[in-house]
Amino acid sequence: MPGERGIGEPGWARAALVLASVAVFAVMLAMPLAVVFAEALSKSWRYALDALSNPDALAAIRLTVLVALIVVPLNTAFGLAAAWCTVHFRFPGRALLVALIELPFAVSPVISGMVFVLLFGRQGWLGPLLAAHGIEIVFALPGIVLATIFVTLPFVARQLMPLMQAQGTDEEEAALTLGAGCWQVFRRVTLPKVRWALLTGMLLCNARAMGEFGAVSVVSGHIRGVTDTMPLHIQILYDDYDIAGAFAMSALLACLALATLALREALTWRARRAEERGAQAVLATAVAA
């Protein structure tokens, strides 16, 4: 048959490609994950649990979750607003905004952290002003949150902008002519159109917010039990030659990441099912009427 040869590679090439993909997956993804869990349990279950349940470890877990809970909603709102503005409006400085959104990805996280120290630290530009009002930013929760917001700023916006650009604004305009207000257009038309991309962006933002090391390391000051997040705590344990403890905490961090993935899958699955049920309900009432 003509046309079938066009995409048909020889069998050995296909086998080699599949094998290569599996090998990369095994070495780059599966083995590191396996190592984390194996090392975590290298001493004993009890040891791993103790490493996670001592007060400093618990404080680090609490801080990491708290930071993620603050950062993800803020960056979701920001990403939506930025994507909406740049797709729906033409304004002076738009190109600059689009370019600047990528900046946190281009800059090393260590530099991102240092910028905040130089701005808000005791010797920094705004340091005297903050000190005069008794506001602590660097070496405290606000600094960690600011640094994490900065580093994870692009995730949601970058997921949404190309998608919204490609989808165009026809549906939004149709909604406007049908009498919908701005908020209704956003909630009933735009948000449903981008919800899976939004969820992916939030997931990536969350994973990075919980795992961020460089920027947070600079602004946190490493005060045990106070400004140590999970990644920082892992490094402290590792530097103390507590390998099993470090990997126990790593395993928990990995589990949080896996749980985020699972949550996203579950939400996607439930939403799809609700949609199908909704369609069937309309069908049923249509038949009954």
Binding site: A175, T177, L283
Partner: protein
């Protein structure tokens, strides 16, 4: 009913409409004809309030409409791409204009349901309410877009290349259908077309546009009988 007075519209340095005057009386059925880039669609979008004129004024129903939002102008718009809400069923697409109204105005869920069923019957799509737009043919999608626009009971129906993407047979069927709806509902209808034969067959009055100005404005019989040569003369091929 609709009056455009000295309308100029520029996008950056490009002037799409140039001091255009157009008066469309109530209940008329007007076709805007012209090559691509002649400003036809821009006129529809200005009437609908999706664009703001660079200069000049628009009146709808004898009142200045320049400050009115699209939803306040009493227009229904059928987009060239149909612009159906892809994530909503046909039923919800048609119901949209009713759902975004204040609660009391639409008679609750039962009122909405009755209205949507009536509209689906009007465009002969009974029973397709539960489908998603992706599960429909081109002609069916066009009729959903029409029903959705009619749901808000517009005084003015605006259609951008309504039959552009359809094959010949469906086209002719829908044409007759649109004419019938226009007469039955007593609306003012304005549609855009680049197809001379279609505009002449459907409209009571054809406005020929060229480079942002009105090149001809007449009833089809005049254009066909007296002015067949003229219409060719004033509407050069898009390539020219």
């Amino acid at each position: 009913m609709i009056r455009l007075a000295g309308i100029t519209k520029s996008f950056g340095a490009t002037r799409v409409l140039d001091r255009l005057d157009l008066h469309i009386p109530p209940r008329s059925f007007v076709g805007l004809l012209g090559p691509s880039g002649s400003g036809k669609t821009t006129i529809l979008r200005l009437i609908a309030g999706l664009e703001q004129a660079t200069d000049g004024g628009i009146e709808i129903g004898g009142r200045p409409a320049d400050r009115l939002r699209p939803g306040e102008r009493g227009v229904g718009f059928v987009f060239q791409s149909y612009a159906l809400f892809k994530h909503m069923t046909v039923f919800e697409n048609v119901a949209f204009g009713l759902r975004v109204r204040p609660r009391r105005a639409c008679g609750g869920e039962a009122g909405i349901r009755a209205a949507v069923e009536r509209l689906l019957a009007l465009v002969r799509l009974e029973g397709l309410g539960p489908r998603l737009p992706a599960q429909l043919s081109g002609g069916q999608r066009q009729r959903v877009a029409l029903a959705r626009a009619l749901a808000v009971e517009p005084r003015i129906l605006l259609l951008d290349e309504p039959f552009g993407a359809l094959d010949q047979q469906v086209r002719e069927e829908l044409r007759g259908h649109l004419r019938h709806l226009h007469d039955a509902l007593g609306m003012t209808t304005v549609f855009v077309s680049h197809d001379q034969e279609e505009a002449l067959a459907l409209a009571d009055r054809v406005v020929v546009l060229n480079r942002g100005r009105i090149a001809a404005d007449a009833v089809p019989s005049e254009l066909r009988l007296g002015g067949a040569g003229r219409i060719h003369a004033t509407v050069p091929a898009p390539a020219a």
